[in-house]
């Protein structure tokens, strides 16, 4: 863990060398989801709401997922950009070092410009929280935090899985974008507005539903059943992450260098 922070501080310093570019990118990262959020707001204004959801409830969902996505893009960027390590043969260097591969790949890249995105998500979360008539008990605050970290775990799992495929394909698989960008676009609205097959797939296979929709029901007091179950739902993201890490291990064992 110390190593991870060491990597982080070095990369942070190196990215800060181009300060103007860094700030501009941060600003850009702020405005990209901002435009999407504005679109969502205008749709709510035009149509008055979604079946069973008000604007602030949906905004909470949006904020949680965007925050989770921004955190994953910032701190798990190494896996997202992993194909470069394979193509250029940089992965060979990691293998000869006496540390685990996961921590080294994680440390190989950080995208600190995602701070802009995090700030935007924080603003949305602020709007949602202040607009909702919810009694914020400690249990609910913990649930909210769990949701964000659960979401980050799910995105990380997808990145790791996509990176693992690079061991076989060398090139990055763009199909993974369906699950990262697509998953984000989808999960920023409450999941029950979608067709059944979408909801099922994104609850039981890739557990976005478990980190956003189900715990959201608890926060909004709409559960029927034991609250603890809904609260603990974001932990299901770990069930998704573990197989991804297992597949990663298999991939590392099968790795053949490209030689470049």
């Amino acid at each position: 863990m110390r190593l991870y922070f060491k990597y982080m501080s070095i990369l942070f310093k190196s990215q800060m060398q181009y300060r103007t570019s860094f700030l501009l990118l941060c600003a850009g990262q702020f405005f990209v989801p901002f435009a999407v959020f504005a679109g969502m707001y205008f749709l709510f204004e035009r149509f008055g709401g979604l079946p069973g959801w008000t604007f602030h409830e949906a905004a909470l969902c949006f904020g949680v997922i965007q925050m989770a996505f921004a955190l994953a893009e910032c701190f798990v960027r190494g896996f997202d950009a992993f194909s470069r390590l394979i193509v250029h043969g940089g992965f060979d260097r990691l293998l000869v070092r006496p540390r685990g591969t996961v921590i080294q790949v994680l440390g190989s890249n950080f995208e600190f410009t995602r701070f802009g995105r995090m700030l935007q998500s924080a603003v949305v979360l602020g709007i949602a929280v202040s607009g909702l008539p919810v009694q914020w008990t400690p249990a609910k605050i913990i649930t909210l935090i769990l949701m964000i970290f659960g979401g980050m775990t799910v995105f990380s799992g997808i990145y790791i899985l996509a990176a693992t495929f690079c061991f076989w394909t060398v090139q990055a698989l763009e199909v993974a974008n369906i699950f990262t960008d697509g998953g984000r676009e989808m999960a920023q609205y409450p999941l029950d507005i979608y067709a059944k097959w979408v909801t099922r797939f994104f609850t039981f296979i890739i557990p976005f539903g478990a980190v956003s929709y189900l715990p959201l029901l608890y926060i909004l007091d709409r559960t029927d059943g034991p609250d603890l179950l809904y609260m603990a739902m974001p932990l299901a993201s770990l069930l998704f992450l573990l197989p991804c890490l297992a597949v990663w291990r298999i991939g590392v064992r099968r790795y053949r260098s490209t030689g470049s």
Partner: protein, 267 residues
């Protein structure tokens, strides 16, 4: 054949090589289309009142957006051209015996055409036979179809002219990311890529009407569904061409100024 045209052809053929990327892109666009439609279905289900656009028109809008994504999206930028400017290799370009603006313009056009022609047809084949409510409706009339193709193409010329301005701005800023991101975000919003323009609040629609962006996306798509009638569409093509002439002239002029003061440092 003259230089810009043959370059257009060469670039187009290069672009066609990236089939695997296109296949992935098709799947992604298909998924996004379905998701967006589901969101709109839910919104329309909630509000019983009549809206400025019917659900059917929105569905057509969403699919057209996904089909012609590569053609109209502002977001797509050619890293090679940025490299030329920031890396100093622009010096070689300047040695060549041609005017730079048409050449670069042709490059941009070719990349868009190639990527769109790979992606458009497979999506089109599927969306017309999807079950309701996802099925893509047919064009409002043969005239609407013809006008749609015309407006889409002049929209493409327009979007390439807009992105040329972004490239030219890099001569001054030297860092592509900032200007690109800002223009792309604002441009896409006012083009109607995030929410169709008729569904925006009134003041926003007025603002969108004053900017060139909506003529590249919102206008051709609504011509397809007949939301914009034949008369209005014909007048719209005139406005598209005026914008095109204005932006291309501005681009050409700015580029001339930028090239006069360009300083290449070693290389």
């Amino acid at each position: 054949m003259n230089a810009p045209l043959s370059l257009l052809k060469m670039r187009f053929l290069t672009g066609l090589q990236y089939r695997a990327a296109a296949a992935a892109g098709i799947l992604t666009q298909f998924f996004f289309g379905l998701i967006f439609i589901m969101v709109y279905v839910a919104f329309y289900a909630h509000s019983g009142e009549a809206q400025p656009m019917t659900l059917k028109e929105v569905v057509a809008y969403v699919w057209l957006q996904q089909m012609f994504f590569a053609l109209i999206v502002l977001w797509q930028f050619d890293g090679e051209l940025f490299e030329l400017i920031t890396g100093g290799n622009i010096a070689y370009e300047l040695c060549r015996p041609w005017r730079l603006y048409p050449i670069w313009y042709a490059k941009l056009l070719a990349a868009r055409l190639a990527s769109a022609s790979l992606r458009c047809l497979p999506v089109a084949l599927v969306v017309f036979i999807l079950p309701e409510p996802y099925r893509m409706p047919l064009p409002a009339s043969p005239a609407a179809l013809l006008l749609f193709i015309l407006t889409l193409l002049s929209g493409l010329l327009l979007v390439a002219a807009i992105s040329m301005l972004v490239y030219i701005s890099v001569f001054w800023t030297m860092s592509p990311v900032g200007s690109v991101l800002m223009i792309a975000v604002a441009g896409e919003f006012f083009a109607g890529m995030i929410v169709p323009v008729p569904l925006m609040p009134g003041w926003m629609q007025t603002l969108a009407g004053l900017l060139p962006f909506r003529w590249t996306v919102d206008f051709p798509f609504r011509v397809y569904t007949g939301h914009i009638g034949v008369q209005e569409a014909l007048a719209g093509i005139g406005i598209q061409l005026i914008w095109l002439a204005a932006l291309a002239a501005a681009g050409e002029w700015l580029m001339g100024r930028a090239l006069k003061r360009v300083v290449v440092q070693g290389g």
